[in-house]
Structure formats: structure tokens, C-alpha cells
Symmetry: C2
Subunit: 196 residues, 2 copies
């Protein structure tokens, strides 16, 4: 916030703030001036440290994976809980989050929606983060099946992909719905489908 | 494609082409020059006919609802098919579509991902299109329950919301996945959940 020149800044904090601007506004919508203001640095420092807006975005995506996505995965694989209990807790937490008016959805979803289909580097970066999530879901369903909480013919990988799809859809729809009824229904139907 | 001046153009066709630019590139990413080129009109005609880029986008969204979304709803409610057969056919068609390298996802999803949360008019327009889809899913599940194809305690509205979420997620993930395995898994798991 200081208007004077500054020689040093915290690149991690700056990256987190850039991440939040991209999260809220998407890649195209994140103006350089908004990024600079949030990061508290000038254009020269931004380019010197992060290279370009595009590289900053790829770094922000990685940061998102190492924080937000990692916490979701840890929640799914919490050793203190049974797999499907962990799943229910994580989904309800996501549901509450996406139902709040402050929710910006999921940065991965925002980025996927904007990604130029020909941009193979960005697509690969997004797939890598989605894979983290899918793998954590798959391990959760595999453990649940081993515990007998899911039937023996359940397919953990397919279920994992469906749940990644569902959570992405929930994050997206949550951006424009004002009530919590819609995401709550989604979670209830998904959990119900496992119980039967 | 004619470089000469033209006095008249087909507003419907121009709108459809604008829709496709927004679909591929999103709102922020759709440059006015790209819209003009696709629509085959100059900036003055664009503004005279559609008002502004924003109004053009809202019109394109409506056009998408009256074409793409309407066809999905008609597929779900095809009177010749049993409700869950219609559902399977529609989902497999969507899955094939979103797995193709040409897929741009769903215009609603792209727009939701980019929507400024404070833009209440756009959010309402998006909710209206989502509601069309949700209602068609809900009627399908209600008929399936009445036919005995779904159990008596199935909740059509919740299922409908979950399937809207899943199809949105599938459209989104399809934008960055090169293989058809992921969307196919999603559809299989979702249909499987109804069968059990």
C-alpha cells in the first residue's frame, strides 16, 4: 500500500495475491494494473520476477495446487476418518464454500473455461492439477471399497472422475446462484448414489 | 467475406457467429475485431444492431439457449423414448461432443466462469438457462420414477441439479483433456448410480 519505491517484496505473498486476482477475474479479465495493485509491486518488478503475465498465471496455478487443491486432497485422505466420512466432510465444506456470495468458484475451472484449446502447455498444467484431485478421490473410493463401505463392483477411477466433474460443476454453478440449495442438492444426490 | 461495403446482413446468422466466437473464446477473450470478422459486419453495424459487446453477449446467450440448450432438453423429453433411455442417449452424445478436440465446452459454463460476481443481470440470464436444463432433467427423473425405472424415494430435483453439475463439469474438463476416457467415465458412473 506504500506509494514509495521499495526494493524488496515477498514473492510468495505477491504470488498468492496474484492467484486471488486470477481466481476472481480469470486470466483475460485480470488486468495488469489490478495484478500490480494486489501484489503491491510495479510492472518492472512483476516482469523481472515472474517473466510475463502468462508465466505469472502458470505460477499462480501451481500455487493454487499446492495450497487449495492440496488441502482438499488431505481432507479426503485424513487418516483419522473413514474414507466416505472424509468424502462427505470435504464435499459439504466445498458446498458451503461455493454457496457463499464470496465464492469465485475454482481457479482450475475458471482457467479451463478460458483456456485456448490450442494452448497445450496450459492444458497440461491444468490436467496435472486435475489429476492430483482425481487421484485423491480414486484412493478414497478404493479404500472405501476395501473397507466394504462401497460394493465390490464399484469402480474407483470412474467414480473419481465423476466426482471431479461434479465438484467442478458445483464450483461453476455456485458462481451465479445466490442460494445454497443448488450445491447442497448436488452433494446430497452424489452421496446418496454411493449409499445405495 | 466480401471486402466491399454492404448495407444489409442477416442478424440471425450474425448472432449465431458471434455466439460461436464467445463460445470459443469467452466474453473477455472475444475481441471486437474477431466478432466483426466472424459476423461479417463493421463496428458501426454491430453497435447499431446490437447496442454493445455486452448486449451482443446477452443476445448470444439467449440464442444458445434457444438452440443448443433447447435441443438437449428435447432429447431428454423425446416422447418416443423411455426417460432413462433418453437420458443415456443425451449424456453419451454430450460426452462424445466434449471429448472431441473441437469442443469448446458449454457457453453457459464459459460465461459462468468469467462472470463478475457483482453482475446481477448476467447472473440472472445464466440462471434462467440453467433452470431450463434443470427443469428438463427433473421432469425426466420424475417420469422415470413414475414408470418405476427409478425407486420411489428418488428425488428428481436433487438428481437434476447433480446432473446439471456433472454435465457442466464434463464440459469444462473436456476442454483440456485430449482423450475421451474422462468424460466417458463420468457418464458411466452417473448412469450406474441410477441403476443401483
Amino acid at each position: 500500500m506504500s506509494p514509495g519505491p521499495r526494493k524488496s517484496f515477498d514473492p510468495d505473498l505477491a504470488l498468492e495475491r496474484a492467484r486471488d486476482v486470477f481466481w476472481r477475474r480469470g486470466y483475460d479479465g485480470a488486468a495488469l494494473s489490478a495484478l500490480e495493485a494486489a501484489m503491491g509491486i510495479g510492472r518492472k518488478s512483476l516482469y523481472d520476477t515472474f517473466g510475463s503475465k502468462r508465466e505469472l498465471f502458470l505460477r499462480a496455478l501451481e500455487h493454487y495446487g499446492d495450497t487449495v487443491i492440496r488441502r482438499i486432497c488431505e481432507g479426503l485422505e485424513d487418516p483419522r476418518g473413514a474414507p466416505l466420512e472424509n468424502l462427505g466432510r470435504v464435499l459439504h465444506k466445498l458446498q458451503r464454500h461455493h454457496a457463499s456470495p464470496q465464492s469465485h468458484g475454482c481457479l482450475l475451472g475458471v482457467a479451463m473455461a478460458q483456456a485456448d484449446p490450442r494452448d497445450v502447455e496450459l492444458a497440461a498444467a491444468l490436467r496435472a492439477q486435475l489429476a492430483r484431485l482425481e487421484d485423491a478421490f480414486a484412493r478414497t473410493f478404493r479404500r472405501a471399497r476395501a473397507d466394504g463401505a462401497l460394493s465390490a463392483d464399484a469402480r474407483p477411477r470412474e467414480l473419481a472422475r465423476a466426482f471431479v466433474g461434479l465438484t467442478q460443476g458445483m464450483a461453476l454453478v455456485g458462481r451465479v446462484t445466490a442460494t445454497s440449495a443448488v450445491p447442497r442438492s448436488m452433494v446430497r444426490a452424489a452421496l446418496q448414489s454411493l449409499a445405495s
